[in-house]
Symmetry: C2
Subunit: 335 residues, 2 copies
């Protein structure tokens, strides 16, 4: 792994290293011909400036870090692709890490990124996350960060979020309009803002239609969790007429169990999920679900971050709320 350095190029051309350096950073005075000669020779020699050394002295890396809880589902990958489109175009490289929903891994990831001098961070918090002090410190120390999707209120940073309240409201309203009066909400992880908002939307819809608030059952964002909850309902003979799940995963897990136990969907029990997974439209019956503008979320986060990096100190954090859509499919159709 013998790297060709700036010295090698300088020696070969009998110029000083600073001249070579100048050739690669066109802000300095340098004669056009020498510059071109240097660039050409460097190219031939296979020389590329060492970004490690560059980072050390310049305090910037042209790298952006993205940290997500997982990427087995398509949601986060799609967001990442959106962000990457913007970032690559501006000359940034994107480094991605996943926290596996673990708070500890998450912060180790952050440390790695910071230590590697990324110029900014785009983060979606792990479910487990409680301790936001570390993020406060980081923000205080002027590290540009944009949070998305999984955010917590009291962090003075830019955020890109979805209008969870509104769309949970519409999703629930849809079920109410179909005549359902006994709807159970499978919540998301309690500490996440988005879970709270989806729950609030669920309740608000009930109030609007003057229907007694539906039951809530704690549930995480996984098929297994949804399946477990469904099984309990069946065993306890507490099967509602419809389920509004805070995630497609839990909805699909629950649906599967109900189907296996002979329930017909949507006749015996209707389903609405949240956050359009790839699966939603392919399973049978297809799952009614709220879709989020994943790509747009990524692009918006990237743009916010770039803005913050460029304006540095005098930047005011802003929260951007994006809109979605309710895709009505068979799982909740009137029969």
């Amino acid at each position: 792994m013998k790297h060709i350095t700036i010295k090698d190029v300088a020696r070969k051309l009998n110029v000083s290293v600073s001249t070579v350096s100048r050739a690669f950073n066109d802000k300095y005075d340098i004669r056009t011909e020498t510059k071109e000669l240097i660039l050409k020779t460097a190219e031939e020699m296979g020389y590329r400036p060492n970004p490690i050394a560059r980072k050390l002295i310049q305090q910037r890396s042209l790298n952006i870090g993205i940290i997500v809880p997982e990427f087995v589902n398509s949601f986060f990958p799609e967001v990442i692709m959106g962000a990457q489109e913007i970032l690559l175009e501006k000359g940034y490289q994107v480094l991605i890490m996943q926290s596996n929903e673990s708070w500890e891994t998450e912060f180790n990831n952050v440390k790695t990124m910071v230590d590697n001098m990324v110029d900014g961070l785009i983060i979606s918090l792990s479910c487990e996350n409680q301790n936001i002090e570390n993020y406060k410190k980081l923000i205080d120390s002027d590290m540009p960060i944009v949070f998305f999707n999984r955010v917590v209120e009291d962090l003075p940073a830019s955020k890109v979020v979805f209008d969870d309240f509104k769309w949970a409201f519409f999703a629930t309203e849809h079920l109410l309009v179909q005549g359902h009066r006994d709807i159970v909400h499978l919540t998301g992880p309690k500490n996440l803002t988005l879970s709270k908002n989806r729950l609030k939307g669920f309740d608000a819809a009930h109030r609007k239609y003057k229907v007694p608030l539906g039951r809530k059952v704690a549930c995480s964002f996984s098929m297994e969790a949804g399946a477990k909850v469904a099984l309990e309902m069946i065993e306890n003979k507490e099967v509602p007429s419809a389920i509004f799940a805070a995630s497609d995963q839990s909805a699909i897990g629950a649906m599967k169990v109900f189907k296996e136990h002979g329930y017909e969907i949507p006749k015996d029990i209707a389903f609405v999920g949240f956050s359009e997974s790839r699966l939603a439209e392919h399973i049978v019956p297809a799952l009614t679900s709220v879709s989020q503008p994943t790509r747009d979320i990524g692009q918006t986060a990237a743009n916010l971050l770039l803005e913050q990096i460029e304006t540095k100190g005098l930047f005011v954090p802003q929260t951007i709320v994006l809109n979605g859509r309710l895709n009505v499919r068979e799982s909740s159709m009137k029969i």
Copy 2:
């Protein structure tokens, strides 16, 4: 972003920087009490060694780069998780990039990784990839690389692959045993070894059963491609009795079109896919498919890489072939 440096700690304690450095790299002689004092003080001051500076001098980063073509499907994310399990445990951090199936992006990613002095690389090639000269150079220069899944034969590096031939053979055999005599193979991208091997397995099964070789239709790894091909078959009235696709994506795309055109599956046309996607078991009818040991692939690749990093020069590239399973589901069941 004012970083606390080794100097700050040294000054505070009236010791030299090298003593502080020693405290953080326990291979040197240092009195236990001074070491502990330094570590404690450093901790209080919020000092952490700057890995950038460390990299510059040490030529190692404890970072491993993973580059995959995409991660919207669950295959690559699962492999990454497998690799990450091994790597994290050994103290490595994992940086992930995606090439979007673009050769250019892929090699830019490689450059970024190399420039950032990752200690090793785990790569799955983009479909588009043709030019392997760059990889040859990289390998010559002693960068440890392990390829997986998407590999090309003549690269002198370790590889973790699936026995595509064998499982394509079994998949095809399964269809032949069901009585199908007119099977079409939707191939994968031509330049990939795995496409070639799946195709060979397809032919070999035909030979074993003394059935004339089935038709092959070029197709890429996407639902859209599968759908397009299916439409052409219908329009040309060349609908076979069964389809063996080189990917679940193309199988699912094709299935959808056939269903929309009134074909019953598996009665009118049977389907077998390849490389278990999350979708396969959830769509209707559920798709028969060859499943790969994703997590195992990741772990194996990581272990190979670590071995290579540790033994450095005297390492002999090896190719590890992993086994899979054929999950028979409704899409190909005898009726």
